[in-house]
Structure formats: C-alpha cells, structure tokens
C-alpha cells in the first residue's frame, strides 16, 4: 500500500513540477483519500463512483487524483500532505479516522479546502459531511426482523463509534417493532476492511444461530460467507447486486455523487464555505437498493412505506418511548433524538443484551 502511495505521489510531484510551463487554463485539482482499495465493492467503491461523477460533470475543468488503501493514523497525514503539496485545491478525506490528520494538514494549507467524511471537527477550510445511515438501517432492520426464522439477527460492527452504534440501535428497534421476539447479536471486527476477519465474524454469527445479519464493514466477504451458509445479508455501502437474490435481500447505498458534484461546483465558482452537513434518505444520500424477490411482497411494501415516511420527514427512527440498555429512560413518548445526542451515541437501547465494548 505504502509503495503504491509513494509511486502515486512521485508521479503527482513530477506532474506538478513539469506541467506549469505548459499550463493552459487553470484546472481545479481535486484529491481523494480512500481508506480501502477502490475494488472493495463497498464504501471506497462508492466514493470512487462519486469521484468519477465529478469528472463527468465538469469535464476539462477538473482533474481528480485518488490515493487508496491509506491507513488511518500517521500515514494518512503524509498522504493528505502529498495531495496538498502537489496542487490539489480541494481534498476529500473519506474515513472517520482521517479526522485529526485532515485538521492538522488543513492548518498548514489555509488556501486548500478540505471535506472530511463522517467526522465532527470543522475549521475555516475544513467542512464535514455525513450520511444518516441509521435511517437506512431502520428499513433493513424491518426486513431482517420479518425474515429471520431463528429470531436471531446479527450485526458485524467495525469500531464502537457513534455512527455504528446508531445503526445497531436503529436496526434493532425496527426489527423488534415487527418481531417482538427478535434478538440482536453483535460482533466487533475492529477493522473497516479485513476480508478474512469479516468472513470469520460472519461465520461466528451464523454458528450462533443468526440467519439474517447486517454489516458495517466494507468488504463483500460477509455476504460471500452468508451465501455459502444459506443465511441472508444486505449490501453495505454499495448495492452489491451480484449477491442478489440470495444472500442479499436489499442494500443500504451511500450515494455521494450529488454532494461531491455540488461542492466541487462551489469551489469552481468561488462560493464554497465550511459547513457540517448530515444528509439522509430524503436528500438522496442514503439509498435503499432494490429489495429482492426473496422478501415477501407485504414485507417489501412495509419496508418501502417506512423508507418513504422517513424520506418525507414524517417519521424519525429514534422516536420515544425508548429506554437505554440499563433500563433508564431516554426518550419520552413521541420525543425524537436530537442530532447532538445521535452524534455522541455510546449506548445500546433497551432489549439488546450484547455488552457495549468499553
């Protein structure tokens, strides 16, 4: 990974030092930092689709570069710095763990604009953007609750951060709503992308009697495992349509295209401002992929109705009455969770028996 990063940056440096002499019209160089390979078929793949959409939209006016498989940590700072040094004026850093690295580099390059995905730290030249994945999880949870025969549904978590905890809670709440006997099993893989570990995690859930599970890790390995074992799963981040109809029942798709196109456009016409946005199903950033025929028609209709209610803003997935795992009151009847509460969520809701990692 590092070697390729080096090669890529060497090429970028050569390009940036050799080209100015021939510079015709100034192109906007847009850089992307990916946490996994573009071929992961999930999270990074979706970001790269949006990058390609930016190129299609603006043609000759932009030039995009990406560095893939950048580890979260010290190496990220180096990779972001390379992009900034080689003339990129807008840089998208597409993983939660790039947060501090992005802020640090942004301090050194005040004239470069940064967009950090799923974080919460902004600056004059750093904006954040996130998707309300928990809205999509509510729909998947409904399907999972209806489809499970063993009444055990599972969740492969990456890291116990608010974004993932929201997803587990939302999926469980809505599975329980349609199936009061449902149990939620959680396995933390402590990685975003490690196919062998993700596959082992899926195997552990299946061995525990889980027959429908969701994942919040990036590879298609858990679906491949589900297929082998006859269990069901969902496309994660990307549609993963080549796993339909079994094991993939539906999918939660991250659609970054509208946001990327909008923000690149704003840099081009000079109206870009730092902000923090959190977009959901209603904004088209979270999309539910086609629900396959393995799902009975009435369940499909029920899930789609929920999706449409969320999109229209008529229903919030975290609506009281809801208690926390320890039984203490959280949301009163009819009360909904605030964005601030959600973005720091570090507890399970009542009914989930799995322990929350410390």
């Amino acid at each position: 990974m590092k070697r390729r990063t080096l090669l890529g940056s060497a090429a970028a440096l050569v390009a940036s030092t050799a080209l100015p002499a021939f510079a015709q019209e100034e192109k906007l160089k847009v850089g992307f930092i990916y946490v996994g390979p573009v071929g992961d078929g999930g999270w990074t793949y979706q970001h790269d689709l949006a990058r390609q959409a930016v190129e299609r939209e603006y043609g000759d006016r932009v030039e995009t570069t990406y560095i893939e498989s950048v580890p979260e940590g010290a190496d990220a700072e180096r990779a972001i710095t390379q992009l900034a040094l080689s003339g990129h004026k807008l840089i998208f850093t597409t993983s939660f763990g790039f947060m501090d690295a992005t802020i640090n580099v942004a301090k050194k390059f005040p004239d470069v604009k940064f967009e950090h995905a799923t974080g919460y730290k902004t600056a004059e030249n750093v904006a954040t953007y996130d998707a309300r994945f928990y809205e999509g999880r509510a729909v998947l949870g409904t399907i999972a609750g209806r489809m499970t025969k063993s009444n055990k549904i599972g969740y492969i978590g990456s890291f116990p951060i608010p974004e993932v905890v929201q997803g587990i809670n939302s999926a469980y709440i809505h599975a329980r709503k349609v199936n009061p006997d449902v149990e939620m099993k959680v396995v933390w893989a402590y990685t975003w992308f490690d196919p062998a570990k993700e596959a082992d995690a899926a195997a552990a859930l299946i061995a525990e009697g889980v027959d429908v599970f969701m994942q919040h890790t990036d590879s298609t390995a858990p679906l491949a495992k589900a297929q082998e074992a006859g269990a069901f799963g969902f496309g994660q981040a990307s549609d993963m349509a080549n796993f339909a109809p079994q094991p993939r029942l539906a999918s939660i798709i991250d659609n970054w295209e509208p946001y990327y196109i909008k923000r690149v456009g704003e840099v081009l016409d000079g109206t870009w401002k730092s902000q923090g946005v959190w977009l959901g199903i209603g904004d088209g950033e979270v999309v539910i992929g086609e629900i396959t025929d393995a799902v009975p028609a009435e369940v499909k209709a029920e899930a789609e109705a929920l999706r449409d209610k969320i999109a229209a803003g008529e229903y919030h997935p975290f609506t009281g009455p809801l208690n926390k795992q320890d039984g203490s009151a959280w949301l009163a009847e009819g009360q909904t969770a605030s964005d601030q509460e959600l973005s720091s969520m570090n507890f399970y809701v009542e009914g989930i028996t799995a322990p929350m990692p410390k």
């Binding site: 390979p37 396995v187 552990a204 061995a207 525990e208 028996t353």
Partner: protein, 296 residues
C-alpha cells in the same frame, strides 16, 4: 451463555488451515537449515494465483495446484539468491515478502470484486483442504523421522559441512526444501482467498505468514507441535469472535492479544525447560540460517 464446543472446533479447523500449511512448509525448510522469512510473500502470491486459476477454471482444486506452483516459483528466486549467490537469508526473505505483497497488489487489480467457485465439500462437512492439511502432519513427520531422504535433510540442517563431507548434496537438498516450503505456503494463502474469504483482495493474508513463522518456533521444529500451534492460534481467533456473538463481555483487545501471549508463554516454558530440565541444546537445527559454500 453456552457455546457449542463442536461448532467452535469446526470453525477453528478452517481458521487454522492456512497457517498449518504455511508452517509445515517452513518447518521442512528450517529443518534443512534455511530460514526463509518470505512466507507472507509466498502466501499472498499463492492467494492471488490460486484465486485466479480457480476463477478461470471453475475448479478450486486447480486453483490450489496453481497456488502451489506459484508459491514454489517465487520461492525459487529466494533459493537462487541464498543458495547460489549466498545472499543473507534474513534480508532476502524479507525482500521476498515485500516483493510478493507489491507484485500481487499490482497484478491482482483485475480480480477484485470477483467471486470464487464453491469449494468441494469433503467428509464430515469439512472441505478436502482441511483434511489434506491434517494428513500432511504425519506425512511430514514420517518423512523427516523415518525415511532416508528425511535423515539427509536433517543432517544438512544440523551440520552442512559434515553432510557435505559425507557426500550429501547440501545445496540440492536445500533448494528442494525451499520449493516444498513455497508450495505449501502458496496453498495456505490460496485457502484464504478460495475457502475463507471467497474472493481476492490486496494484502488479504494480513500477517498469516508471520504467525506461521512463529508457530514453527513455538512447535520446536516438530510437525505435531505445528498442528497444536495452528489450532491454538486458529482457536483463539475463532473463540474471540464466538464469545462476542454469544454476548459474553470479554474485552476484545485482551482476546486479540491472547495467541501472542500464549506464544510468549510457551517460549518461556520451553526455555525454562531447557535451562532447568533434561535437554541442554535447543531444538533449532544447528545450521539454521547459515550460508553454505562447498569450497569454504
């Protein structure tokens, strides 16, 4: 909460197979007196070559065959450098690992996102590769302990000058051992891509080669010890995830550390036994890692 031990054992067998193959191969290499740190590089090469062949032919068996050939082929670069050009084995082995990871990252691009053909199920619902891995343990033991070529291989590993003086082909023995080690490492890597993950991803062996190297030491260069070590490592990995799935509150970090703690513990036990117990010398082949030149 109760966890069914049998289901843990079945998952364990799968998790242990890649490291069992790689460690058995490395054991033979080291018994011949050669330290090849390139296991990870040979495994990832096998993972890609095996996946590519299995995908193209639709046959996992052909995939494993291709993986063995590819692993052996890259191990031959190591053999040429260390046995004929007498390069440093540690440095060359490390280079082989870096080379394998880089090479597969480059050639693996087109295979990303593809699916592997289904594994052939074997007896008791376990696939044939699991059985082959277990069967290899007594075979390797029998070869090393009970056959004449095995005796010569061990002689070469213990004292290459004496073996040479007796007229045994030191270099040929070592090259063959390196090739065998490469083939088994390649098959171990292919197990990850074909049987565990069912697809190819860059860097997917994720350190399994290093665990295999540790297991050879852990096993004190004994094939049965390798089997125990592979099951221990595989078992802890699987148990960690199973405990989580069963809702047992055990700190994951501690569990993830467990195999390494166990290795250190066993190493301490072994060295304590050597210090205070009956056996004076360690079990490591005496010529391990030393270059051999016939004219020296």
């Amino acid at each position: 909460m109760m966890i069914d031990p049998l289901s843990v054992f079945i998952l364990l067998l799968g998790a242990a197979t890649p490291i069992l193959f790689a460690a058995l191969g490395e054991l033979v290499v080291e018994r011949a007196g050669v330290l090849n740190l390139g296991v990870e590089g040979m495994m990832i090469t096998g993972a890609l070559a095996g996946f590519a062949a299995a995908h193209a032919s639709g046959s996992p068996a052909l995939g494993f065959l291709a993986a063995a050939l590819a692993g052996a082929a890259v191990s031959m670069t190591f053999a040429a450098l260390t046995q004929f050009l007498l390069s440093n084995q540690v440095a060359t082995g490390l280079a082989l690992t870096l080379f394998g990871l880089g090479l597969t990252a480059m050639f693996g691009k087109p295979y990303e996102g593809m699916k592997a053909p289904a594994m052939m199920p074997g007896p008791l619902g376990l696939n044939w590769m699991i059985w082959l891995g277990i069967a290899l343990v007594p075979l390797v033991w029998w070869f090393l302990a009970r056959t004449r070529p095995g005796l010569i291989l061990r002689a070469v590993g213990e004292n290459h000058d004496a073996a040479h003086g007796l007229g045994y082909p030191v270099r040929r023995m070592r090259v063959l051992a390196i090739g065998f080690g490469g083939a088994l490492a390649g098959m171990g890597g292919a197990y990850i891509s074909i049987a565990t993950v069912l697809q190819w991803t860059e860097g997917m062996t994720a350190g399994a080669g290093w665990i295999a190297l540790a297991i050879v030491v852990f096993a004190q260069w004994n094939p049965w010890g390798v089997l125990a070590g592979a099951w221990l490592f595989g078992g802890v990995t699987v148990l960690q995830l199973r405990l989580q799935a069963a809702g047992v509150a055990v700190p994951v970090q501690l569990l993830s550390m467990a195999p390494y703690l166990a290795t250190i513990f066993v190493l301490v036990l072994i060295s304590a036994r050597q210090k205070f117990g009956r056996s004076g010398a360690g079990a490591a082949p005496a010529s391990l890692g030393r270059p051999f030149h016939a004219l020296k």
